[in-house]
């Protein structure tokens, strides 16, 4: 046996040295925008399935808030929201796919954290959705605020930051609670539905989706308090600033359009508008696209094909959808929200 073991070891050593030596050759080749243009389509890392954010419809077409962001990027590059290919990625392989150059941009409810940005070589784009943990309770409990939940039992998924945030929140506010933990969100929801707990907690964006799974969604309310910070947004590789700018300004253009009342429906009319801010946005005055590697009409294309931020929000997760998520923190800064775009000038 000893005779066969040696070559095996040598082989293992060889494999190991190869694996150490090769990653150097994986860096992307050339600026991302050129590669995307040459390929003729954007490759977007997407969510494998979260209601309202990224989900295939009956025909297998990807729909959702995060999906539309990618379509917006495709629109500004190609003037065609369909020139994008979605690669559904699990939480585990999303960063590898971005690192290896398999995708151009990751738009998949990824939380922006310090360690992810600093340690792993990614750039986090602007926050397209301010998420955070919230609570759902039965309407008949007559609870209007999470601060009234003292003594409540809370169904929560085990081993997630959700569980830790829950403990922090109740401790900070000196309230008693009983946490009932389950291995999966499905089980936790089921337990809540059968009356095992008074409340169910997870991230706000998912809370609304989970609510649709209940027998009578109208019997349940989502409390306004957000007890944790989960800023979600697109992610790109570090080192290609032009591409990073393009992704950033895709979001900002949609925000500015909402702020100025430019919508998918009236964008052609607004081309004639005399408001200088609208003129700069739609490219009828000045040239703000060249620096992004695009034409003057870079923002016009987004709004014409996709619409402004508010439209995308309402259509996918807001009043126009089954989820009925309130704008909350995602309202424009002019409406007491956090969505704020630097000016185009």
């Amino acid at each position: 046996m000893t005779r066969t073991r040696r070559p095996l070891l040598a082989l293992a050593a060889l494999a190991l040295s190869a694996s150490v030596a090769l990653p150097g050759s994986t860096a992307w080749a050339g600026p991302t925008l050129d590669a995307v243009k040459k390929r003729g389509e954007l490759v977007c890392g997407s969510n494998p399935g979260i209601a309202g954010f990224g989900l295939p419809d009956d025909k297998g077409q990807w729909k959702g808030f995060d999906i539309e962001f990618c379509r917006a990027v495709a629109s500004t590059i190609f003037n065609d929201p369909n020139k994008v290919r979605f690669t559904p990625l699990s939480a585990k392989d999303r960063f590898t796919a971005l690192q290896s150059g398999e995708i151009d941009v990751l738009s998949r409810n990824t939380t922006w954290t310090q360690s992810r940005e600093v340690g792993q070589g990614f750039e986090f784009g602007p926050v397209t959705y301010y998420d955070g943990q919230g609570f759902m309770v039965r309407k008949k409990l007559n609870v209007n605020s999470a601060l009234e939940l003292s003594g409540a039992s809370v169904c929560v998924q085990q081993g997630t930051t959700t569980e830790l945030n829950l403990a922090d929140f109740f401790r900070t506010h000196n309230m008693k609670y009983e946490s009932v933990v389950f291995a999966t969100a499905d089980e936790a929801l089921k337990a809540y539905d059968t009356g095992r707990c008074d409340s169910f907690t997870t991230d706000m964006s998912q809370l609304y989706g989970e609510r649709t799974k209940l027998g009578n969604p109208e019997d349940h309310v989502i409390l306004p308090e957000v007890i944790s910070k989960e800023p979600l947004g697109p992610v790109v590789r570090q080192g290609d600033d032009q591409w990073f700018n393009l992704v950033k300004w895709t979001h900002y253009a949609m925000l500015i359009a909402e702020e100025l009342g430019v919508t998918k429906a009236n964008v052609d009319e607004k081309l004639k508008d005399s408001n200088p801010e609208i003129k700069r946005l739609l490219g009828t005055e000045g040239d703000f696209g060249t620096g992004l590697g695009l034409g003057k009409d870079w923002a016009y294309r987004i709004i014409k094909n996709i619409g402004n931020y508010g439209e995308v929000f309402e259509r996918n997760v807001g009043a126009g959808s089954k989820l009925k998520i309130q704008r909350g923190l995602n309202a424009l800064w002019t409406n007491k929200g956090l969505q704020y775009a630097p000016p185009i000038r």
């Binding site: 090769l22 989900l55 295939p56 979605f86 799974k213």
Partner: protein, 373 residues
């Protein structure tokens, strides 16, 4: 003295009335003793407890047609078959473009005909069927599914494939590759050539020594980091190769079991006839060895078929993953949707696995004829 000898046989009496008829059968089979009676009663109680709610959920209270999830969300509603019906297209094709789905249908139809042709043991020209299935069909399938500008078919990248299409691709290619690879590895493991033997043993033991999930992760996550982007194999091909190699290692051990069951005399007899190694294996040893291990081979196939669901964790939308994703649709989401989806998935896998198992039994019976003669 002849008076004692019968000239005609005594007429046979009918069996005692206590040992024929329904009552006797029941007593004999179900209540033959106190222990049996207790178990029978327990069994009846269990069935009475389990069956009615199941039938009520799956059939009586089920919602057979509905425009959206509202009817399925009503209190007391059972399985939401309307939802399965609505999502059937997505379950079958995944994100494959709607207008191009006919291409998948063609691939399914041709594959179905060829497989049926191969499986019916009395069908004529099975050699032709085999040639078509193993050589022409994969080329046709790839050309049609992937598309090519030359044929005027728009290219559909594999990211968009999904559902039953991907499950069947995984299972069929895994099965088709694992058998010959497994046989080769089994022969290699018993080979007199040290390098061949060393390689076979190493491959089999390494593949069997790691969990399938590890193989899939390795194929999907590590490979792209080691090779330049343009070299990295397709996202669907990576797990496909991983699954096929993994299944081959198990298949090799099954086949080796069959080889070891062949008496030494068969090898020696074949040598005495002057046959060379390929001839000995092809004509004498393998037909016998494989016939012995049919249950093991089919067992591996069934395990492989179900293991294809693991590819979901590397982001491939196989059938189970499609079911799992579709239930999130807010149009339909409701308390019964998840259960309905999983019942449907269970039925799907059961039908295929049970079919394989029955077919293998039939083949076994037919091959056993020669031994029982």
């Amino acid at each position: 003295m002849t008076g004692f000898v019968r000239t005609a046989p005594e007429p046979t009496l009918p069996p005692p009335t206590a040992s024929i008829g329904l009552v006797a059968t029941l007593r004999d089979r179900l209540f033959s003793g106190p222990v049996a009676s207790v178990f029978t009663l327990l069994g009846i109680v269990f069935l009475a407890w389990a069956i009615p709610p199941l039938v009520r959920f799956l059939v009586v209270d089920a919602v057979w047609s509905a425009p959206d999830g509202a009817a399925c969300r009503a209190p007391g509603a059972g399985a939401c078959w309307a939802y399965i019906w609505r999502k059937a297209g997505y379950f079958t094709y995944g994100s494959y473009p709607f207008e191009q789905r006919w291409r998948v249908d063609v691939v399914f139809a041709v594959g179905g005909v060829l497989i049926a042709w191969l499986l019916v043991r009395r069908a004529p020209w099975r050699g032709l069927a085999a040639a078509l299935f193993f050589i022409a069909y994969p080329i046709l399938a790839v050309l049609l599914l992937r598309g090519s500008a030359m044929l005027g078919l728009p290219v559909v990248p594999t990211d968009m494939w999904g559902g039953i299409l991907v499950t069947l691709i995984m299972a069929v290619s895994g099965i088709v590759f694992s058998l010959p690879f497994g046989v080769a590895l089994a022969l290699g493991r018993r080979s007199a050539l040290p390098i061949v033997r060393f390689f076979s043993i190493g491959f089999i033991e390494i593949m069997r020594g790691v969990p399938m999930i590890t193989v899939l992760f390795m194929a999907n996550l590590m490979l792209p980091l080691f090779v330049p982007e343009s070299w990295a194999p397709d996202r669907l091909l990576r797990p496909l190769v991983g699954v096929a190699l993994f299944a081959s290692a198990y298949m090799a051990e099954v086949v080796r079991g069959g080889l070891q069951a062949i008496p030494k005399g068969q090898f020696e007899g074949a040598m005495a006839l002057g046959l060379n190694y390929p001839q000995r294996m092809r004509l004498i040893i393998l037909p016998q060895a494989l016939a012995i291990v049919i249950p093991g081979i089919v067992n591996s196939f069934i395990a492989l078929f179900k293991d294809t669901t693991l590819v979901a964790i590397v982001g491939i939308f196989d059938f189970l993953r499609a079911v799992d994703t579709a239930r999130l649709d807010p149009e339909w989401a409701g308390p019964t949707i998840t259960a309905t989806g999983y019942v449907f998935a269970a039925l799907f896998y059961f039908v295929f696995c049970f079919g394989m198992s029955r077919y293998s039994l039939a083949v076994e019976h037919e091959l056993a004829k020669s031994r029982n003669r």
